[in-house]
Symmetry: C2
Subunit: 409 residues, 2 copies
């Protein structure tokens, strides 16, 4: 939580931290500035001082609206430093930051955060460290200070995320109604004019439903059918007509433009009817989903539930990445991930990498799935859940799990 | 252009380059992979070898569809390196990259590109340089290799951008019609039910118009009125009713989801009528816009036209950032910027920083403006133009410059 930041700085021995970037891509900056639109802004927090936000003159009011004391870059005009540096932009930029660091008495261990071109970051921070001997540049391995602060949501954030979940499930409900309002002809769904309804038509409908709710997509949703559903990040081929009796994965993960928070939910369904063999696959995933949802709880590392998922699928005879990291079929991803101002954030429900114990305030997706493209199918079922202050599960995705969407004959 | 990359590598003495990241934020990676959706992908190009694209198993088909030879991260399983490193993730990641670099014989000067947490980039690249003595980590100042390649568009890119411009101007045309279809009551525009039409209503309409054309907004458009139009990046207050006789800045800069290319266009208009004093301000900006559009040409540094713009505004008695870098009123930004897979890219039409001579294939915005929030107004007029292979201007924003939108009495 935001209030943890001073303590997280102490734990890391940080005397100051800098978060630089654009709020629409640097989500750590969005976290600190609460929905303001800022480009090339800098948040500077010296331990024991009030933070300060540097912004462009074009965005001075956006910056001021955050409630953080604001300075303008033009208070330290780059043109002046450029002149002093004989036109050398790299030197001018270092001189500008040195002047700012001097004014705010930045010294000691300084953590740097926010997205930047990786090569430029390496060069710039190396130059900055060389130019200001009073500072030690600190870069963190993930999960860093902000991942750690952000993975625990406060009550206000969970309320926001509940609303984003509600808006997202409204979209799904309307897509279901849209589909079931169409008529089948042979094994295809057709439109009023007799032409086949395509995935592209559904995607166009989804886009309008999202826009009506001020939801935006940073990645396009997945609406993939048959063998395409067997490759997890296949978004679906627009030209493909919708067919009855095939697995369709509908995975949607929009961001609420007003608050910046994401939601993540997946349903797999069949149009018209489910063939017995594929219905069984759907039921297998649903059973794993239900068992994991019943088991998942605070106080245990997220990786335990990934292991549980793998064990359940393997007991059913499916390959998993837990026993074969190189498998391309079966269960081939992690169980879930934190959701917040990034669609993928901490804590990760993965058996690989740093383990976080699940805690009140965590918001994670739970998304077991099976993928067999060569057999022409894939199934994934996903909800996003929050653990409230008592550690109880609050399902932010409450929407029915329907195997079959009936269509008009 | 993409075909310039090997030569740009030679100019920089690069033996190899790495572009890492997600395609939706790392536009250099999007440039190389042509619209594929990829998360945590790596493009590796060793001079004289065919490039290779590393992707997750979940996205193996997205990666393969790029036509670039593909490898999976799981060919170098992190779990194995983690085990060998005794659970030390930082060491495991370095070992994984070292194994990849060994297989592809990466040595010498290696340029790194793509967005990453700046602190982590510094740490990771420092560690990588220490662990692989055969490489020298190269990070570039902007404009880097990719800015340079990307700022010159080929004929195919300009065709795409022409189509994005056309779709964007359709949105503007429909917004104009939407506004002029409303009725005035007193100094406000009202809806059929008699309630005031608000900026939020217009924004909702704009969102639908964008969604219908598969255009997305990475930043929200600007639809700002009166004093808010006097602060360039004020996006407009949704609750505010639309009023007659005020400057309204409508600046829209969507991205075409299918291709990833942006368009950028601004119109300033009055609803119903323009008061004489504000009409004169509009005409002043329009005159500067027209003079700059008539003058701008290939073969000259972009900064010359920023200086010309400042000179014209100063001759009219307005303050500018050219003579006063700290002014918050008058002409307070640069004349324009390159547009492409980023909304702001090279070449910059700025008097500060590295100067680029304008060339065939450059696509830039031209956007003079005046801002006086305390006087309750702001005006900006902007088109995006391309220089074709003969250096002729192709206006990608062709849309009329209307001062007043008539409304129903």
């Amino acid at each position: 939580m935001k209030q943890d930041i001073p303590e997280l700085m102490r734990e890391r021995g940080l005397d100051a931290l800098v978060v630089y970037g654009d709020t629409d891509t640097s989500s750590d900056l969005a976290y600190l500035t609460g929905g303001a639109h800022l480009e090339r802004a800098m948040y500077l927090h010296v331990q024991g001082q009030e933070p300060v936000l540097f912004a462009s003159v074009l965005e001075r009011e956006n910056a001021a609206a955050t409630g953080i004391p604001t300075r303008l870059w033009s208070d330290f005009p780059l043109s002046r430093f450029l002149k002093e540096a004989g036109g050398d932009m790299a030197a001018a930029r270092i001189a500008q930051w040195r002047a700012i660091f001097e004014e705010y008495d930045v010294r000691g261990r300084v953590g740097f955060y926010g997205l930047m071109d990786m090569g430029f970051a390496y060069r710039f921070l190396s130059d900055l460290a060389a130019a200001i001997p009073e500072i030690e540049v600190v870069g963190e391995e993930p999960p860093n200070l902000f991942s750690t602060a952000r993975e625990t949501k406060d009550a206000r954030e969970i309320e926001i995320m509940r609303a984003v979940g509600k808006a997202t499930t409204e979209v799904i409900a309307n897509v279901y109604d849209f589909l079931s309002g169409h008529r089948a002809q042979g094994d295809m769904l057709i439109q009023a004019d007799g032409s086949p309804l395509t995935i592209g038509d559904v995607k166009a409908f989804i886009r309008l439903e999202l826009a009506k709710r001020n939801l935006e997509e940073t990645h396009e949703h997945i609406f993939s059918q048959g063998r395409d559903a067997g490759v997890p990040h296949n978004a679906g081929r627009p030209e493909m007509p919708l067919r009855l009796g095939q697995t369709i994965i509908f995975d949607i993960f929009p961001r609420d433009r007003a608050t910046g928070y994401f939601h993540d939910i997946t349903r797999t369904f069949f149009l018209g009817h489910a063939p017995d063999d594929l219905a069984q696959k759907w039921l297998d995933v649903k059973r794993v989903f239900d068992e994991v949802m019943a088991a998942i709880r605070v106080g245990e590392p997220g990786g335990n539930f990934q292991q549980m998922t793998c064990d359940l699928f393997e007991a059913m005879g499916y390959p998993t990445i837990c026993s074969d990291p190189q498998t391309t079929v079966g269960y081939i991803h992690s169980l879930g991930h934190g959701v917040g101002l990034d669609i993928h954030e901490g804590p990760r429900l993965s058996h690989i990498g740093p383990q976080r114990v699940l805690r009140p305030g965590h918001v994670v997706s739970v998304e077991p799935g099976l993928y067999f493209p060569d057999e022409g199918w894939g199934v994934r079922i996903e909800d996003t859940i929050a653990f409230d202050e008592n550690g109880e599960i609050v399902n932010l995705s409450h929407f029915p799990y329907e195997m079959v969407i009936p269509v008009r004959a």
